[in-house]
Amino acid sequence: MESMHGKDQVLWGAALRCAALRGLLCAALVTAFAGTEAAQADVVLTLHAGQFEPRQLEIPAGTKTRVVLRNQEALPAEFESESLSREVLVPAHAEVAFYVGPLDPGAYDFFNDFNHAVKGQVVAKSLAGGH
């Protein structure tokens, strides 16, 4: 159910954006990407015991990926990354979903803005066999 929900959100978001920005031309793209988005599972990033888990979060390069951040700490946290241009607040014992990418292959630093010692990296990898 979770992944269906995610897929729906992606498609609706994409459709709205298209209507606002590019019009009909985009409709074809949405249909074209529907397959790949559906196959795309969420990536889970957990914050517990004062650390991000995993500290190296692998995602496929060149694809918009949905990240679910679970905060199991007693304090709120803020996922922040300058190289990813992301700033996402997550209350204590809560979870928040956001998107990263599509990214070029490489490593992207992130940290908890409420505790800069807590750090990690998003590692975008090109799929084996892909160009």
Binding site: Q9, A74, L75, H116
Partner: protein, 291 residues
């Protein structure tokens, strides 16, 4: 204790500096203190509400929705600051004479008091909700001692003091230059907030990034250092901006400056016309009439 003090300080600092700037820039406008105070009250209430909703949510929160709310708040604040600055472009002279105790009443009607109220409320709400969320977690957390809470309170106090210092510094500026300086500060503040909004709109997927990390001045001035943070709040310093942020910054700066200029020119023209009722004098430079 130190950690929580720093976090809360950073959150409160942003709101405090914005309120101090707005309070300074609106000097001489009757009743502005009451309206700004009401804004702070509204903002705190809103912050508590946001924090309550966010912390009681059981489902997965949407990062996109969060980004859009942030962008909405920031862009509304930009509009209000624009309104304020454009109004000031027309009325700074009257306010100056009022402050020098000549006692000329400021033309009422469209005084930007609503703008003051809203900017204050929005700034306090945006930064305050994170503060409230954090303090609430500290106060109720089983594993956190009272030291953390004390740290948070000290941090909040330090943020407010920074705001007061900025205000005290502002009012020392000679009256001749005062409104030019504050208008310029508000102009850059608005541009910086617009750039932040662009970042959130890009995050939610509503705008293209037009290039990530257009440049990187982190090695030069870290955005998370105290100076970097101050410049980030006041003039929108961003060490690694996206293209769309630079576009928003530049457009906002240009648009507000243009509106202020137009307003000032119109004002001067209408004053010249008022002091020279004869048609034939239209093309001669304004001259001083003998009293």
């Amino acid at each position: 204790m130190g950690a929580s003090a720093v976090i809360i300080f950073r959150e409160v600092l942003e709101a405090a500096l914005i309120v101090a700037l707005v309070l300074g820039a609106s000097r001489g406008i009757p009743q502005r203190g009451r309206w700004v105070l009401a804004g702070v009250g509204l903002g705190l209430t809103g912050a508590a509400g946001v924090a309550l909703v966010a912390s009681s949510a059981t489902a997965t929160l949407s990062g996109d929705a969060q980004a859009l709310i942030n962008a909405g708040i920031l862009l509304t604040a930009v509009l209000m600051l624009t309104w304020h600055n454009v109004w000031m472009a027309a009325h700074a002279k009257e306010l100056k004479t009022e402050l020098t105790a000549v006692g000329l009443a400021v033309s009422s009607g469209s005084r930007p008091l609503t703008a003051l109220l809203m900017v204050t409320a929005l700034a306090v709400m945006r930064e305050g909700s994170e503060t409230v969320l954090f303090m609430w977690a500290l106060a109720t957390g089983a594993d956190s001692g009272s030291g953390l809470v004390l740290g948070g309170v000290l941090g909040a106090g330090a943020g407010v003091v920074a705001g007061i210092l900025l205000y005290r510094g502002l009012v020392r500026i000679p009256l001749r230059h005062f409104f030019s300086v504050t208008s310029l500060l508000i102009l850059f503040l608005a541009a910086g907030l617009a750039a932040q909004a662009a970042g959130f709109l890009n995050q939610a997927g509503w705008l293209p990034s037009l290039g990530n990390n257009l440049w990187n001045t982190s090695g030069w001035l870290d955005q998370h250092s105290l100076l970097g943070q101050l410049l980030h709040i006041l003039v929108g310093y961003t060490a690694r901006p996206t293209g769309i942020q630079v576009v928003f910054y530049t457009l906002t700066l240009g648009a507000i400056a243009l509106l202020m200029l137009v307003q000032r020119v119109q004002r001067q023209r209408s004053q010249v016309r008022a002091s020279q009722p004869h048609q034939s004098t239209q093309h001669t430079p304004p001259s001083v009439h003998p009293a």
